[in-house]
């Protein structure tokens, strides 16, 4: 580990200790007790209130789902006004809460945060989340809380402090008019880029999709994913990551712009694909391709596929901050977000197209049918996705992997 990384880890640990120590004395009361009111009482209390949801705002389709679908229904059904605060990065909200926690500010401004992974883990370590509450929601009965992919968020125990909202799965996208046989594993990808130099690239980590691609390569190159579900271990990491970076280095000279630069975000990569500069694209949203085809942005010959060895999937959630001024309202909103009708609408590729967090087997027949129907030529059937799921590695592995990418691939 480099000097910088070790210093950073040490500082993080001390800072987290400090913050949690403060939490115990100052504002910890609300955070530790959890929800004990019955849901009917929460509904009554929530009437006529405003719920502030802070969420990543970089995707128009997601914003439209919240503003045009969720918001009016909450207003009508529960007399709740939903205010959406867009974030460019969920870490901004976590930073804000962290500042508020240390300043002893008991009345915050955020009632719900859309979150998962390292942001949830950082916040949980600092005692930023209210709970437990999520397993007591009426609609929690549709969720398989015994599943590892629900009750652990990137390997971190959820313990009822966040409610599953949806699932995402990494997929590859290609243009069937230009590519006959898209590369289905790491070896094929290497030879494909040699045959088609400049026609492939990936977003630079720490972009979310870029991180996922590098992780996907880690699984592919090493041929295993189980070691990375365990707590971080430097020896395993050194061996596995050097193999991965070596592979990515080999890939680099045949990437778009000869790997001299990388797209800074998945949106940029989508634009390159849209303009025909690259022939393969990738997304953590299996419905993205269909959505872009329907909008006329991607060519009609666009198809989605998964690697033969499977692709990453994870769950995303909503959490309630310790200092939310409207915890009752937040839970009513979370419950609505988990309802079959809201989940069916969410999975529509014409809109957001996000996979459901609900367990298909626990749903009534008609809802089940609506969630499993095929949704267009550019999508994959739900069964294919489900059969090819790989779990995300634990956060620490990912952080090391993306830091190392900067040193070993980008800067070389």
């Amino acid at each position: 580990m480099s000097f910088r990384a070790s210093m950073v880890v040490a500082l993080t640990m001390t800072s987290l200790l400090f913050v949690s120590a403060c939490g115990g004395t100052g504002t910890g009361g609300a955070g530790s007790s959890g929800e004990d009111r019955p849901f009917s009482k929460l509904e009554r209390e929530a009437r006529g209130t405003t719920v502030n949801i802070s969420m990543y705002g970089g995707d128009d389709a997601i914003n439209a789902y919240v503003d045009d679908y969720v918001k009016p229904r909450l207003e009508k059904k529960y007399d709740i006004t939903l205010e959406r605060t867009p974030l460019s990065d969920t870490a901004d909200a976590v930073n804000k809460l962290l500042d508020e926690k240390t300043a002893g500010k008991d009345k915050g401004t955020i009632d719900l945060v859309w979150i998962n992974g390292e942001n949830f883990a950082t916040g949980a370590d600092a005692g930023l989340w209210y709970g437990p509450w999520a397993e007591k929601l009426p609609n929690a009965k549709y969720i398989d809380w015994s599943s590892q992919s629900i009750n652990h968020d990137f390997g971190y125990p959820v313990e009822g402090r966040e409610a599953p909202w949806g699932k995402a799965q990494f997929v590859m996208i290609y243009d069937a008019a230009k590519v006959d046989d898209p590369p289905k594993d790491t070896d094929e990808l290497l030879s494909w880029t040699r045959e088609h130099p400049g026609r492939f690239t990936y977003p630079a980590p720490p972009d979310f999709t870029g991180n996922a691609f590098v992780e996907q390569m880690l699984y592919g190159v090493t041929g295993e994913f189980k070691p990375f579900q365990k707590p971080f271990d430097q020896k395993t990491f050194d061996r596995a990551s050097s193999e991965t970076y070596e592979y990515l280095d080999k890939l680099e000279s045949n990437l778009w712009r000869s790997g001299e630069t990388y797209p800074t975000s998945s949106t940029k990569l989508d634009e390159l694909y849209q303009n025909g500069e690259v022939w393969l694209d990738m997304s953590y949203n299996p419905q993205l391709a269909q959505r872009q085809v329907d909008k006329g942005l991607f060519p009609k010959s666009t198809r989605t596929y998964v690697f033969d060895y499977g692709t990453l999937n994870n769950t995303h959630y909503v959490a309630i901050p310790f200092n939310s001024p409207n915890k009752a309202g937040a839970q009513v909103v979370a419950n609505f977000l988990e309802s079959p009708e809201a989940q069916i609408k969410k999975q529509d590729p014409g809109g957001w197209g996000d996979l459901t967090a609900l367990d298909i087997g626990k749903l009534p027949q008609d809802a089940r049918k609506k969630l499993t129907e095929p949704q267009g030529a550019a999508t994959l059937p739900t069964e294919v996705l489900q059969k090819n799921r790989l779990p995300e590695a634990r956060t620490k592995w990912l952080l090391e992997l993306q830091d190392g990418w900067q040193e070993n691939v980008l800067k070389r």
Binding site: F18, D92, E118, T122, T261, Y262, N275, K411
Partner: protein, 283 residues
Amino acid sequence: MGSRLKIALLLAPALVVIGVLFAGGLVAALVQSLGYFPAIGMTQVNLAAYREILTDGDFLNSLLLTVYVAGASTGISTVLAVLAALTLRRSSGRLSAVVFQLPITVPHLVAAVGISLVVSQTGLGARLAAGLGLIGEPKDFPALLYDRYSIGIILTYVWKETPFVALVVLASLRGVAADLEDVARTLGAGAWQRFWYVVFPVISPGIVAASLIVFAFTFGAFEVPYLLGKTYPTILPVTAYNEYRDIDLSARPIAMAINILIAALTAVFAAAYLRFARDLGRG
């Protein structure tokens, strides 16, 4: 005394804004850069962040790139602006006003996006060049964005800053320069002599001031390089931002230390440049 009080009162609101927002921000950044960040439990004051930055090759790469981008943008804009102002000074005020004031009203962000639409490899320029048969297909267009030489960034700055410098130069040219030049002509001075001995001394304070503003701005500006820059190395303000939004809060001192260094370097460059200009004026 009454008038002094009046001046002080009139200046107070502006000074308060500058004092609180600018000096306050600078002090807060300085404090955090020294590792004092009680919100996450860091209370030890030390120079660790600076030591780390200064011993790190990445910072040097970023610094060189920043100096290069700011220097090239300032140099090119200044030369173009002086040439343009000299050409346009005899024209009617309206034409030069339109030509030069229009780009000034366009935000840098919009300018950057506009430039990228024109010079990207799938952009207007590439398609036009391919259509005219200058290049085989749009993809063969030279890479001007996210490139090693930061051409996209410099182009945007030149487009934005040239009119600014030109307006300042034009203003000083429209003053006494024309009369003095006529006098010089009647005394038999040639075109080059008139420029070098009469016009240039009149406009040089304006050029110095305007180009210094441009340099200081491009040295510390964030949005254009953020949009059009390469993934690595990034110019200093982008490097600082990347550290700032690191998921790990303890990277904050490093981000702040970079910001402090940007401020310090800009001040050093400005002082050196003003001194150089003064010597030039004396010489």
